[in-house]
């Protein structure tokens, strides 16, 4: 529905307006006097650094958090007693990063979850199936397939459709493109545009400027809990201007001179890795070399890294680090750390942090024996270690005694990075090191990795982010069907080549 049409029917062109929203947590303000309006039938981008207040704002709009003061209007009507029920009834839905999907029931049942057509307590299966089939008609999702078997983009779509089916007029998408490949993302954007044409309004949270510029009609930028700026027409904006709004200063993009290493003897030699669906004969890294692993999900980039770290079992495989003799791949992460191999998972909440422990305790977690004597921790030694990496990573918190749970995503990632660096690795592997963190912290992380490589540490970055690969690595291995299909180095590494590579793989 166009704005003009809305005006003709006498509807307010602004579907959702917030006035002077403020939210205090204790004495700190997470949100200060934020006022903005969302136009009907548009996709409205919401940007900001980790901790800028995006999550708080959409939490309030969707009724999950209560504001300290301020008001919300939907269709010009003030909403009193904001809670999830009231907001969903009014048509405002939040689709979170974690798809709320039950794996062992069908797509159709998930779509109707909680709103199953029923009479007298019995589910009307025929109506459920008919409704679901109608909703899923043009989406390529089979209503009868188990939700657990759907791919990432289908799961996102299912969540959006569920919000629509429940009467959603304003749908908030919290970083919907995280963990999606380039193709999936394009598919999701097409889907959003179709829904927009049907009159749905979206609030779209993203860390990526190019995504905002590609799909959004308007956008608002939050910084330190306040509205830093925004536009009704993103066509007027450039990526640089967006970054400046987000950061409050000009963005200094991390730049790195790509290095070539023909002469030097390899510092890491990996041979004959065979495991579940993986078959890699040889991979060498020169001292200080940064190698990117990329490929479609399941192609083997992530799996190979996990196998080298001992997180996935292998049938065979050896590794030689520096002048050390050839050894079998480590059987467990502890063995890997002891050999000088470190790995950071892409899922930091599940697989990277102990959330209720402090920053300091998390930093020393992989190096406990280094700060202990005969099993007893040496508090001074531990403090020296955690202080050092707390400072080196530039973690924004009052101190290493802060509990990790309270940190923003970017700072949590820095804690994880500090933990693996504290082990003093000779080979560092990072799986999607900048996913879900804002553009400012992303530069910090890439800079830290680069500085580390200058000391001779070999680095492997597993990434589906082409921009990151192009800017950060010396050489890139493109994976397909569990093997390295192609290697690019030097000037061969361009976004175009990488995208092309991914397409070839997809078509194969």
């Amino acid at each position: 529905m166009s704005v003009a049409a809305a005006t003709e029917t006498g509807q307010d062109p602004i579907i959702l307006r917030v006035e002077k929203l403020t939210k205090h947590y204790g004495s700190t303000a997470a949100l200060r006097d934020v006022s903005l309006g969302i136009r009907r039938g548009t996709i409205h981008g919401l940007l900001g650094e980790n901790g800028a207040g995006k999550t708080t704002l959409v939490g309030i709009i969707s009724g999950q958090r209560t504001p300290t003061s301020g008001s919300i209007y939907l269709d010009g009507q003030p909403i009193v007693n904001v809670d999830v029920k009231a907001m969903e009834k009014a048509g405002v839905f939040l689709v979170t990063q974690e798809p709320m999907i039950i794996d062992h029931i069908t797509a159709a049942e998930n779509l109707m979850l909680g709103i199953w057509p029923s009479s007298g307590g019995f589910v009307n299966w025929r109506k459920l199936k008919a409704d679901a089939a109608r909703m899923l008609q043009d989406t390529g999702i089979d209503p009868q397939s188990l939700a657990g078997k759907l791919d990432a983009v289908a799961r996102r779509k299912l969540n959006i459709l569920r919000a629509m089916f429940s009467g959603g007029k304003v749908i908030i998408l919290d970083e919907p493109t995280a963990a999606l490949t380039v193709e999936d993302r394009a598919q999701l954007f097409t889907f959003m545009k179709e829904l927009k044409a049907q009159g749905v309004t979206f609030i779209f949270i993203s860390h990526y400027n190019d995504e905002i510029l590609e799909i959004c009609d308007a956008c608002s930028v939050l910084r330190d809990g306040a509205l830093a700026g925004g536009t009704e027409d993103v066509g007027n904006l450039t990526s640089e201007q967006l970054s400046e709004l987000v950061l409050g200063r000009g963005l200094v993009l991390f730049q790195r001179e790509r290095r070539t290493y023909n002469e030097q003897r390899p510092a890491v030699r990996i041979r004959d890795v065979r495991g579940d669906g993986i078959n890699v004969s040889a991979l060498d890294l020169r001292p200080g070399e940064i190698v990117g692993f990329t490929g479609l999900p399941g192609a083997g980039a992530k799996e190979l890294a996990r196998m080298i770290f001992g997180l996935m079992p292998v049938r065979s495989g050896t590794i030689a680090l520096g002048d050390s003799p050839v050894q079998p791949l480590p059987a467990a992460p502890r063995d890997a750390f002891d050999m000088g191999i470190a790995f950071l998972s892409d899922d930091r909440r599940r697989d990277g942090l102990v959330a209720q422990m402090t920053i300091g305790e998390n930093i020393s977690l992989s190096s406990l024996s280094a700060v202990a004597r005969s099993g007893f921790l040496k508090p001074e030694a531990e403090k020296v270690l955690s202080d050092r990496y707390f400072k080196a990573m530039g973690i924004k918190a009052s101190g290493p005694a802060t509990v990790v749970d309270t940190l923003s995503g970017g700072n949590q990632q820095k804690v994880c990075l500090g933990r693996v660096l504290a082990t003093g690795p000779r080979l560092l592997m990072l799986d999607e090191p900048t996913r879900g963190i804002d553009i400012g912290v992303k530069q910090d992380v890439l800079r830290i990795i680069d500085e580390l490589s200058l000391t001779g540490v070999c680095v492997i970055i597993v990434s589906t982010d082409t921009d990151e690969i192009v800017r950060a690595v010396d050489r890139v291995c493109i994976f397909e069907a569990g093997a390295i299909r192609e290697e690019l180095s030097g000037d061969e590494i361009t976004s175009e080549r990488l995208r092309q590579g991914a397409k070839v793989t997809a078509g194969a």
Binding site: V82, P333, L365
Partner: protein
């Protein structure tokens, strides 16, 4: 769009009381076990002044010793987000093995006692191996182990009570210095030992990490299975010592020795703030939980509540403690 409607609009929400929560209330809720303990002591003292006598204080200390040892044992698997229901049954079974090593094999009492504790430790080790290497669910595995051990104790004793315990064996449970029993000293030593273990050692830190997030701990290079097996083994050893102390104090081992401790042994650490989801809790909390339960038991006996009502009143008091703790977690994390 002009803001004509703004004046008519009411604030969208009332201020959230949680945000300005008075810190006094937080402090009270954090220390609820101790406050509730003091309140009950005063209450029981008002009903019957005998409650405040030295003799009764000694009685509470002795009673708290066995519950305290088994409570510490139960806390260990809880800290790694597992559970061991077989510990009270292990307590009874292992003490009977120790007693029979003396009476049937003719071993010196000290050696026989060590065999009892050793058997308890091995049972703990076995539980740990089943749960980690065989990936058995700890709740069910230890439940079945509990039934096995209770049955084995009954079979061993043939339903009779073992009373022919040697002088040396029962000494620790009976000895006094200046009228004060010395058995509680063992509990204090265990308490301090476990506090040091949890706070100052690599093992202790690893226990909290595994309980907080086992997947992340594994990726961080902690040998998760090994840590879990060690906690189960330590818990078994503590149960063995508790079994020795109980037999020594009562000078008898019944055919269902230890079974009555099951619910109290699990309740004590949880009341004291040890999370059933793992990774949270400390020794001071366990002590609080143990003392609270002991005071309720002893107090109800002293103020002569008819035995028909002891169960329900004791249960309600525990319920209140747990409910207040749940409210604390809900609002203050």
């Amino acid at each position: 769009m002009s803001q004509t409607s703004a004046t008519a609009a009411k604030p969208a929400a009332a201020p959230n009381s949680q945000d300005h929560g008075p810190s006094i209330l937080g402090w009270i809720l954090h220390n609820v076990v101790w406050i509730w303990l003091i309140a009950l002591v005063v209450l029981f003292g008002m009903f019957n002044e005998y409650f405040f006598t030295t003799f009764n204080l000694q009685n509470i200390m002795v009673q708290a010793t066995v519950l305290g040892m088994i409570g510490l044992a139960v806390a260990l698997p809880l800290l790694v987000a597992e559970i061991d229901l077989s510990l009270p049954a292990n307590l009874g079974f292992s003490s009977a093995i120790g007693a029979m090593a003396y009476s049937d094999l003719g071993l010196p009492w000290f050696l026989a006692m060590l065999i009892g504790v050793g058997v308890a430790t091995l049972i703990g080790l076995f539980n740990g191996i089943c749960i980690t290497k065989l990936k058995m669910v700890s709740l069910i595995q230890t439940l079945s182990m509990m039934i096995i051990l209770q049955g084995a104790l009954l079979a061993l004793t043939q339903g009779r009570t073992i009373t022919n315990l040697p002088q040396g064996y029962v000494w620790i449970g009976q000895a006094t210095i200046g009228g004060w029993p010395i058995m509680p000293v063992i509990f204090v030593v265990a308490l301090i030992g476990m506090a040091i273990l949890l706070k100052n050692t690599v093992l202790g830190r690893s226990i909290y990490a595994v309980g907080g997030n086992a997947v992340a701990s594994n990726s961080a290079g902690i040998r998760v299975d090994r840590i879990k097996i060690i906690t189960y083994t330590l818990a078994g050893a503590l149960a063995g010592v508790a079994g020795f102390l109980l037999a020594s104090w009562q000078m008898a081992i019944t055919s269902n020795q230890g079974s009555s401790y099951l619910l109290y042994a699990i309740a004590a650490p949880i009341i004291g703030g040890v999370s059933v989801f793992g990774g949270r809790g400390n020794v001071v909390g366990v002590l609080g939980g143990v003392l609270l339960l002991t005071v309720i038991q002893v107090g109800l006996a002293i103020i002569a509540v008819p035995s028909f009502y002891v169960g329900i009143i004791g249960g309600v008091m525990i319920f209140i403690a747990v409910a207040i703790d749940a409210i604390r977690v809900r609002y203050f994390g």
